[in-house]
């Protein structure tokens, strides 16, 4: 077998192995919580005219893996954060147990809205592969 052919076969075998692993290996995450924090000094930075974006317009969660949204206000002043008003030092923990798209009015966003997309638990091999691929892409 030529070197080039061997290389292609090796790449194909490695890809197939990775795909098989991604399909069969049970999914797990270190924590179910997706945490967002308003850091100290955020209000002051906003008042100084600086753009501070903490929450994205869209947040993606997955049932059974990462399905708890946690918001924490570490600033010294109350803040509208996502769907709620939070006092200094306060946290808000919102669990999700149904796959759906949730819309929240949020003045922190230019659109005035925040969307939380909760995907179902990826229970099939194809869903596991897709979940791993999406997670990898988002991390990149």
């Amino acid at each position: 077998m030529r070197t080039g052919t061997r290389f292609v076969v090796a790449i194909a075998a490695a890809s197939l192995g990775a795909l098989t692993w991604a399909a069969v290996e049970p999914l797990h995450t270190s924590s179910r919580e997706h945490i967002f924090v308003i850091p100290k000094g955020t209000w002051a930075r906003r008042m100084a005219g600086r753009k501070v974006e903490i929450l994205p317009d869209h947040i993606h969660l997955t049932l059974g893996l990462r399905d708890v949204l946690v918001l924490r206000n570490h600033d010294d002043l109350p803040q509208i954060f996502g769907p709620t008003l939070m006092m200094p030092g306060q946290s808000f923990t919102l669990p999700f147990d149904r796959p759906a798209e949730y819309q929240f009015a949020c003045t922190a966003h230019a659109s005035g809205q925040m969307t939380i997309v909760v995907d179902p638990y990826p229970g099939t091999p194809v869903a596991r592969v897709m979940w791993r691929a999406r997670t990898l892409l988002r991390a990149l």
Binding site: V24, L85, L94, A100, Y102
Partner: protein, 195 residues
């Protein structure tokens, strides 16, 4: 015969699902929970029963506090219908629960109009109205938004749709996003009532 690998895979899947279910029910609440809870800002408005409506008057009861308006075509009817179903499911326990529905549209929502509107879902639900200024202050205290949007010759509101759950001590304990079924409210009300 099941191979060892397949058995391990199935066991892993079952364990993951079990852990998922256990973690989801760990706090018990279906709504989002505040930690630490803060005192619910008090307010006095005009009740749909023709009496002044003061929030602190309901200390000792669990309060579900929602914001909306009677001309709302989408969110409010569903929310109020959910409240009515939850109250019915609570049975006798509903005596310790008060639903308050504060309008964002004082121009059209008079006490009489509110009584007719909320009463059509459940007569135990109380509506509240006030001046623009009073209502704006209440919304600010609760972080509630309400944006008036022209709609032909009329107008509508884009408003916050989440529901505050206030415990017997008058503290904001949780916030239920729009769209949860009555069973979720009943679940959380039972938790708060047991305390």
């Amino acid at each position: 015969m099941m191979t060892r690998g397949l058995r391990k895979l199935l066991l892993g899947t079952v364990l993951s699902a079990a852990i998922a279910v256990a973690a989801a029910s760990a706090s018990g609440f279906k709504a989002g929970v505040f930690d630490p809870p803060r005192a619910a800002p008090d307010f006095t408005l005009e009740g749909s029963n023709g009496q002044p409506l003061q929030l602190s008057h309901y200390h000792g009861k669990v309060v579900m506090l929602a914001f909306g308006y009677s001309h709302c075509l989408s969110v409010c009817p569903i929310t109020l219908h959910t409240f009515a179903q939850a109250l019915r499911q609570m049975g006798a326990g509903a005596a310790d629960v008060q639903v308050l529905y504060v309008t964002v549209d004082p121009q059209r929502d008079t006490p009489v109009k509110l009584k007719e509107f909320v009463g059509s879902f459940d007569p135990r639900i109380l509506g509240a109205t006030g001046t623009e200024k009073q209502l704006a202050l209440v919304r600010k205290d609760y972080g509630v938004t309400a944006t008036r949007i022209p709609d032909g010759n009329s107008y509508m509101y884009d408003h916050s749709s989440s529901i505050y759950l206030i415990d017997r001590a008058g503290r904001i304990r949780a916030l239920m996003p729009y769209g949860h079924p009555p069973e979720d409210f009943v679940n959380d009300l039972h938790i708060l009532l047991r305390e």
